[in-house]
Symmetry: C2
Subunit: 266 residues, 2 copies
Amino acid sequence: MNELVRVEVPGRWEGEAEETAFVGRALQAWFYRELATRDEGLATALHDMSAEKPFSIALRRQPDERLVVTAYGILAPFVLDLSRTMPDRLLLNARWWRREGEAAVERATWPELAAGLLAPAPETRTTLNFVTPTTFRSKGNYLPLPVPQLVFGGLLERWQTWAPVDLGAGAGAALEGIVVRRHRLASVAVQLKGLVPGFVGAAEFELRSAGGPYGGLLGVLARFARFAGVGAKVSTGFGCVDVTTVAGRPASQAQGETGARPGRGN
Amino acid sequence: MNELVRVEVPGRWEGEAEETAFVGRALQAWFYRELATRDEGLATALHDMSAEKPFSIALRRQPDERLVVTAYGILAPFVLDLSRTMPDRLLLNARWWRREGEAAVERATWPELAAGLLAPAPETRTTLNFVTPTTFRSKGNYLPLPVPQLVFGGLLERWQTWAPVDLGAGAGAALEGIVVRRHRLASVAVQLKGLVPGFVGAAEFELRSAGGPYGGLLGVLARFARFAGVGAKVSTGFGCVDVTTVAGRPASQAQGETGARPGRGN
């Protein structure tokens, strides 16, 4: 229970054409079928769960095509087992996706991630690359924009639901200090039951006022994002991210590095 | 007092090189100098004003280089007068920007804009093209993202401060129904006293639940945006927008048109 897992499986579509349809629902269905086959008790427990399920699954195309499955909490052992016995091919939307090589497994523990809070030079800047469509729920609507308090608020909520290491009562307030430094974003519309607006691209975040007990909070949650996914529908192909964090620097130095085109007006 | 004005003046920089520095502060300084020279009483009134000043000024580069000055409330007559007696050139950041042709003036009245609320087929979709860097203030930080409630909440606030036509107590709640359908955005860092994060690009917004007394609210505020600018620092070169509104359609038809790459996952 104390572990987080991220599995990346290289592969490609069989046949000529590149697959362009969104396969998130097919991925989710495959995952649940595997779960029901291998561990019926766990499948039932997951089904009865009211909180967000502790896994994500997505097919990413950059830098090369990979199936990405992440899990934590009660699902981590299952996904670790899955990574060792991956089938050679998956039927997704009536087409075969073929595995081409072994699964790469990345593991971490909650205490390892949480240790970032106490780091002497905490990571106060992070870049998230949103490599599959990402979206957030906000007041009953989808919001396809990486608002810091939605990005990291959602991560904090999942952390507090699943982690045995409590980040404390002040964490929520500390999130208010996270700002967007720069970004490049484009929306994509994903056909599920209806059209869901999402976005892909990259955004750099910074935790201002990096002093205090929560100076390392941004870095902790960013590393967690790699295992949790970001935003809504991470169990349906959304919100797969690559994460780059940078340790704290003097604000003056950091300022001089902002922006691709500093001082350029248009 | 009952008028809104938008003036566009074609021109270009003298000399060889294209000007790349952000000239927002220089534009603001020029505007205030003109004001002080032509109408000292008005300059004093503006100086003493605690609310946001009812004008915007920006230098845009697309589709061609133009100085854009907008005004409403007590400043509309002054800007109208300014458009008729524009100097041949402006000194901005120690370089000359030369006017090349006459100012184009667009005018509207508050009742004309407000009439959109009562339109039989209200405009429920609008695309804003952010042609100069745009940013918002949110909880003490800059947020360079077009969150609908910041875009249109700020416009509503300015409307209610300046317009003789009250949009009513329910307008604020109606804004919660505005969503982002699609966007393409890139951040820019603007050097003022410090670096201010902004963005350029385009975003399409839709008012869901278009029935009820506020079905036309999105269209009204979008048209106002053309005269008010969007977000923070519109008197310093930020937030100049082009606006395209579309009249209401059945939701099913509108859905089929969403997104540049519908159903495409990545």
